[in-house]
């Protein structure tokens, strides 16, 4: 059976588009979670089944695929919101932008001085376009929760690049990275809750009291 690495990476890109195009927050969280689960499958597929790649895979699966989505679902239940309304850039426009970014990522990746092993592999362009999609979410959405989702997609992009480097990273560091991310999301969830309590909304455009 051929190893379906490229298929997984294509699915990751499709999920990027899906996340950018949907307004329902629950669906968005599910999509980010499935992206995390797909990525968690990659380390053993790329590097073979060994202790390091399996542990990384299990860690990513449980944190990106289970714990963080659960935290986020809990957060939206508490603040009682379902939809992202009025993004700064409309859905169609952000889809088009994302398509541009993805095209640019594929064109650009061919020009990079890559290892012979990685030339024409999907890893680099998919990492770049996922980073782009995450960044787009971060800057164009108004709700705090969608900004957190943007941060997660951004982190997924970094994770894709990191899979190429699994052997270069000690396991302890990878564990630390995942743990840090988990705590960050946890703290962001709490802060979101407090924003909701203070302002009765988690639209971040209300956070504009502090300025020069």
């Amino acid at each position: 059976m051929p190893i379906p690495i490229n298929e997984i990476l294509v699915a990751v890109i499709l999920l990027n588009f899906f996340i950018l195009g949907t307004s329902r927050l629950g669906t968005c969280i599910m999509a980010v979670a499935s992206q995390g689960i797909l990525l968690a499958l990659l380390p053993p597929l790329v590097h073979g089944v060994n202790g390091h790649s399996v542990l990384l895979s299990v860690g990513a699966l449980s944190i990106k695929g289970v714990v963080i989505p659960w935290l986020l679902f809990r957060a939206i239940r508490r603040v009682r919101i379902r939809r992202e309304v009025e993004p700064r850039i409309g859905y169609i426009a952000s889809l088009l932008l994302s398509a541009l970014i993805t095209t640019a990522a594929f064109l650009f990746a061919d020009r990079l001085p890559l290892l012979p092993l990685h030339i024409h592999s999907f890893f680099i362009p998919v990492a770049l376009s996922t980073l782009g999609a995450g960044f787009l979410l971060l800057i164009t959405r108004r709700k705090a929760i969608t900004q957190v989702l943007g941060y997660l997609v951004f982190e997924n992009g970094i994770f894709i690049f990191g899979i190429l480097l699994v052997e270069a990273m000690p396991l302890m560091v990878e564990a630390g990275v995942l743990l840090d991310m988990l705590v960050a999301i946890f703290v962001m969830g709490i802060v979101m809750n407090h924003i909701n309590r203070e302002f009765s909304t988690i639209n971040t455009e209300h956070l504009s009291l502090l300025k020069e």
Binding site: P113, E167, P170, A184, F199
Partner: protein
Amino acid sequence: MHLYAIFALPFLGALAAALLPSERFRPLLIPAVGLLHAYYSLRLAFAPQPYPPDAMLGLDALGRLILLVVSLLFAASSLYAVGYFRTHPTWGNRIFIVCLLVFLGAMSLAAAARNFGLLWVAVEATTVISAPLIYFNRNRLSIEATWKYLLICSVGIALAMLGLMFVAYAGLQAGQGPGLQIDRMLAEAGLLSKPWLRTGFVFLLVGFGTKMGLAPLHTWKPDAYGEAPGLVGALLAGGLTSVSLLAVLRALQIMTAAGEDILARQFLLILGILSLIFAAIFVIRQRDIKRMLAYSSVEHMGILAVGLAVGKLAAYGAMFHVMNNALTKGALFMCAGNIHRYFGSKRMCETRGAAAALPWSATLFLIGFLAITGSPPFGPFISQLTIIRGIFDGGNVLLGIGFPFLLLIIFIGMSTTVMPVVLAPAEADPSPGEGAKETWLTVLSPLLLMSAVLVLGLSLPEPLRRLFQEAADLIEVGP
């Protein structure tokens, strides 16, 4: 053994703080941990211990310097923390104290990390753990500041991770053994693939520069420092910025070892000068004393970046300035906190005439302002002068003139805010604030810090001078 004490102490202290039921006695854990931590850090700082070449943890001169700075600042401010909670006996302090101690542990870990990945993990941990500290006042303003801080710094740190991966990829491409162990990266830096290394450095600089608060990546800084309690402002502006600087220095070390230092220095110089310009623009007519201090912090990060970019003598000046900046900023934020608590405001117009109401805090605030803007005979005067001399030694006359000129503008800008706050006659009818008077504990911390800054300026102890020199030499090790 001592090396493990500097992490074990804060983490055990945090555990104890989480378990201790008494709100009254819990704050005492802060000075207990802080003073013991300072004791071990002092012993470590002046007695270098060799570490195996593949170690995860170990202290080189840079690590020892940053550890010492963080530890001294924390020890001095721990007394203030006790006084702070005495004036607010009813406020819940469990989360705050646990976070504060873990924060110290994470900063110590960053100082001692010999693996770039571990350093990243520690710096990211400081971001997350300091968010509840900034939010301590629990109001609309502080939640806004916390959100901006958390989001901007998390994204910044994520960019740094990307940069780190690019550098690791540069290593893979050179066909060298994998790893992010700093000593090995330095030894084999010459082999790294140049394009990936350069891109990686840019991302590392942007990422950790966000955390340092170099302009134009500083936008979270005035908000976070403005809304955080004075104690937290002191630790962020003195401790956390120094730790983030350490991460930038590690990246600079690798670039220098790879023979790419010219490019790295150009980037640092640009960010440094931008920081000075931004600080000069925003510090003028700044009516809020804590936000003013935040822009002053941006300025001093700029000074450090310029010093490092110029190198040689200026790099020594920058190492000296790390300590001066941390201690002086610490004192200033704590005094600003005292003023803020007494008047219930940190706006200039509502805190006029602080000298009459709070003689110690206001006087120390004034002295701290004079020190941080580079007036003799304090430490920052010597270190800034050293950096300027270094610039002229390097032959860059334009920078040598522009740099002191910007410092002068910032001095004037800050004085128009500080002078009325301290010296203006008190308002006939002071606004009813919290009215919390200064106590010996909340005054002792800034007093100790300012005395240390004075000693640094009058006669620099020889072991410290050697530490600064060794740290500066480490940055200059070429291929």
